[in-house]
């Protein structure tokens, strides 16, 4: 299989039109790489070989548990014929080549890392491999066809030569314009390698997260933020705090109050005795309940914007069946609270942290500090959970500003309470699902979604300087359109599903008033999967059909969901649960991956007990099968928390929850047995970080209906 490297890099043709932005190597000299080394073989930004012969991979996606560290090393290792564990993996700094072809910025999200990296990294590695092979042919005076790469050496019938020996020759070669990629049937590591390369550091405590970074002389900063979103400090009195041990200074920074001390404990204790008068800002008086009531009113008062219409309205005959669903705000609650180390000098700012989008952060820090992007460096680390939270640059900006204003190296550390109350939340949403039913035939499926727009909130609350500055023009325009009331994330998973009914329609009404919103693992699918797959279940029961059979009967014939649903149903022994247990099912496609889940529940003492989740997934070709399983398990546990417990409530514009006692998350004793099965596929790989989440809540709610006859249309699920 041969791919013209140039056409791939310039055209991005394999991804469809308009995606060339992420792949523009031309015009960038190697010396512009933030990881440039004058002594390495470095034909592209992704992979280099050091004089000692070590192969180094720039990890341009953030490792937050989803497994890119291992997956990307495996894809690179494949074309170099070396064990993935031999590759040195470095967290990449921002570089234009690392921008995502789907999102236009350097970002980890949308379950896109493996999907695009599959081609990017194999080509980058194959380029390095080809140069080493050519160098070896010259060095040994042997035909290239007689040479092979193996575990960091070039091997031939008479012996072997290591990369270090070949480096001087390889560095003098022109970068090839064409490379040959392995055929999948020749893969040795992709689909076969099963270990996690980042596990050793994580079981020995040696992995370095942002919060672990040691900077000589750094002070610890904690920040008192206005608890009311959009509010700011009116006045404060720090006289008591300044008398406390270790405290260096207390000062206002951009509407908040920073406390600097030698250690976290000292800073936190001192922050507790700073008295602050807050200006509550524009959301004073707003509550999550008032917002919910407003959304219910908007279901009838607002027409909204049509997102999708298929078929003729006249085909919708029979009687109307309607149901209204609600979901609350959710926090990400990553285990590692937000944090960043920042050092500011006259020349610029340097940051050490864990973040999902250093690109966005660079522009935001530039806007906030007055430095140019080029004067700012961000060093990434392992992320103690991301789930979308660390896309946001807020905590980096805070650290940068505190460092700038104090003139000292600082380590900003959020408390759990800061984290719970200063998140960018999964939107709350209300949806009216409706269908016409004509003598047990469903003739239409309609949804009217009322929800705030994530991008609308982004624009309104993160900053008023963000949009004009940091985005490439294309995305600026795109986001502008989204923010004006047609955010595709609001309808994703309901609109453009491959269910087939004579008439189908989705409308979206944007609720303008909102707290800060963010991208939460599976984004719009996290609630829309619940809405559509619960309602489909309602329609099956309304027409007295089996929920699996009903779905199959109303799916496109060539639907990718079909086989996945059938596999999950078969493995779960659908229709024959153990005595006293009841089953529910859901199947959903998100981020180009299809997942079906069957949940077994029982009800005891008025409580829902989840016994087992059987999960089937189709994600194309697999890079590391055990990581696919792990992501399904993790997605299920994450979704169980949301379905059974998760709810952020607002009073007077402020979050009421604070820590894990009032924002509970699933614990091991509540975790069901989980089985994961994969539909084999030779298609190009697709992502698995998010798609395990959406089917769980509807499958669980559908099982609760089977057990109790109660149709729970509100998350978290609470029995009547």
């Amino acid at each position: 299989m041969t791919i013209s490297r140039r056409s791939f890099i310039k055209g991005g043709a394999i991804f469809g039109g308009g995606l060339a932005i992420g792949f523009n190597l031309s015009g960038c000299a190697q010396t512009e790489y933030p990881h440039f080394s004058a002594t390495d073989l470095q034909p592209n930004a992704y992979i280099q070989v050091s004089p000692s012969g070590q192969v180094i991979l720039q990890l341009y996606k953030s490792e937050m548990g989803q497994g890119v560290y291992t997956g990307m090393a495996t894809m690179a290792a494949e074309e170099l014929n070396m064990d993935p564990s031999l590759i040195i993996v470095q967290h990449a700094e921002f570089y234009p080549d690392f921008r995502d072809p789907e999102f236009y910025v350097m970002i980890t999200g949308g379950s896109s890392s493996i999907k695009y990296g599959y081609t990017i990294l194999r080509e980058a590695a194959a380029t390095v491999a080809a140069m080493l092979k050519t160098a070896a042919a010259q060095y040994l005076s042997i035909a290239e066809s007689a040479l092979n790469l193996k575990d960091g050496k070039v091997v031939y019938a008479g012996g072997e030569v290591d990369f270090a020996t070949l480096l001087p020759i390889a560095r003098g070669l022109a970068t090839p314009t064409e490379v040959t990629l392995k055929s999948p049937q020749d893969f040795q590591y992709i689909g076969r390698h099963r270990q996690r390369l980042d596990a050793l550091g994580k079981v020995t405590g040696k992995s370095e997260f942002g919060i672990d970074v040691q900077y000589p002389g750094a002070m610890t900063a904690v920040l008192l933020r206005c608890p009311h979103f959009g509010g700011k400090v009116s006045s404060f009195d720090a006289s008591n705090a300044l008398k406390m041990s270790g405290v260096k200074s207390v000062f206002e920074v951009d509407g908040a109050v920073a406390v600097l001390a030698e250690t976290y404990w000292q800073a936190r204790q001192a922050a507790g005795v700073v008295s602050v008068v807050w200006d509550k800002g524009p959301l004073a008086g707003v509550s999550s309940e008032s917002l919910r009531v407003e959304r219910h009113g908007m279901l009838t008062s607002e027409a909204g914007k049509n997102v999708e219409e298929k078929g003729e309205a006249s085909a919708a005959t029979g009687e109307l069946f309607e149901a209204v669903y609600d979901v609350p705000y959710l926090a990400h609650a990553t285990m590692e609270p937000m944090n960043a180390v920042a050092v500011a000098t006259k020349e610029g700012i340097e940051i050490w942290t864990g973040n999902q989008s250093p690109d966005i952060a660079l522009s935001e820090i530039a806007d906030a500090t007055g430095f140019k992007r080029e004067q700012i460096r961000i060093h990434n680390h392992m992320l103690g959970g991301g789930f979308g939270r660390r896309i946001m640059p807020d905590y980096l900006v805070e650290a940068a500003r505190i460092a700038q204003l104090s003139g000292k190296p600082v380590r900003l550390v959020w408390s759990r309470e800061d984290d719970m109350r200063g998140d960018f939340y999964r939107p709350n949403a209300t949806v009216a699902m409706s269908a016409m039913i004509d003598q047990s035939a469903v003739t239409s499926l309609q949804a009217k979604i009322v929800a705030p727009s994530i991008l609308g909130g982004f624009v309104q609350f993160v900053t008023n300087t963000l949009l004009p500055q940091w985005l490439p023009k294309g995305l600026h325009k795109k986001i502008g359109g989204m923010a004006s009331g047609s955010d595709p994330a609001a309808a994703e998973g309901i609109a453009h599903s491959d269910y087939e009914f004579p008439y189908m329609r989705t409308d979206y009404v944007e609720q303008k008033t909102t707290i800060p919103l963010g991208y939460w693992r599976s984004v719009g699918h996290s609630q829309n999967g619940f809405f559509i797959e619960s309602f489909i279940d309602e329609l099956a029961h309304q027409t007295t059909q089996d929920p699996v059979a009903f779905r199959l009967a109303h799916m496109a014939k060539d639907s990718r969901r079909r086989q996945v649903l059938e596999l999950a149903a078969a493995k779960a022994n659908w229709g024959n649960p153990p005595q006293g247990q009841f089953q529910g099912v859901a199947v959903h496609e998100s981020f180009s991956t299809v997942v079906a889940q069957v949940v077994n529940v029982s009800i005891a003492d008025g409580k829902i007990k989840v016994h087992k989740v059987v999960c089937a997934v189709e994600c194309g070709m697999v890079i590391n099968s055990d990581i696919v399983v792990a992501q399904m398990e993790g997605g299920i546990v994450f979704a169980l928390t949301a379905a059974l417990k998760g709810e952020i409530t607002i009073e007077d514009g402020a979050v009421q929850q604070s820590n894990f006692h009032d924002y509970e998350v699933l614990r091991i004793n509540e975790t069901p047995e989980i089985e994961v099965y994969r539909v084999d596929s030779a298609n190009a790989p697709t992502g698995v970080g998010e798609p395990g989440v959406p089917p769980l809540a509807p499958a669980l709610a559908n099982a609760v209906f089977a057990a109790t006859g109660q149709r729970l249309r509100k998350l978290p699920l609470r029995l009547a």
């Binding site: 596990a199 404990w265 546990v637 894990f660």
Partner: protein
Amino acid sequence: MADLEFTLNGQQQTLSVDDGTPLLWVLRDHLAMTGTKFGCGMGLCGACTVHLDGSPIRSCSYPAEFVNGKAITTIEGLASSDENLHPVQQAWLEMNVPQCGYCQSGQIMSAVALLANNSAPNDAEIDAAMAGNICRCGTYPRIRKAIHRASELAVVQHYQPANTVKENV
């Protein structure tokens, strides 16, 4: 100020900190031992779990002056080297337990303490002992499997015929 004298992973430590400073921040800020993690500050999540004379404690809520004269063990003290891991760490690797990994120091410290008291716990005993440790990535199914596996490995390492009968493995 509180004067502290205790052993940390077998080494004597002598230092002074502010009264009431939790052990977690003595480890992280005063001693730069960052393997032990900050998660909630209220003993709710278990990320900060260390051993006090072999028993698990939540170091974020444990005043450091109470460890005087005691032996503290952290994740850094479990193994002499990466080539000679504790059976629990070895089992964690075999089962690919970690995802983001942030909670795993605490998970492992809780699991080591469990196995020290119960060399072959069943699932219910594992759940009871590990319920104080939150993992947002959802590695719980693998933690259960890894504790069973660690139990096997530990039996091999410290062979005692009377203790080889295990339940529910």
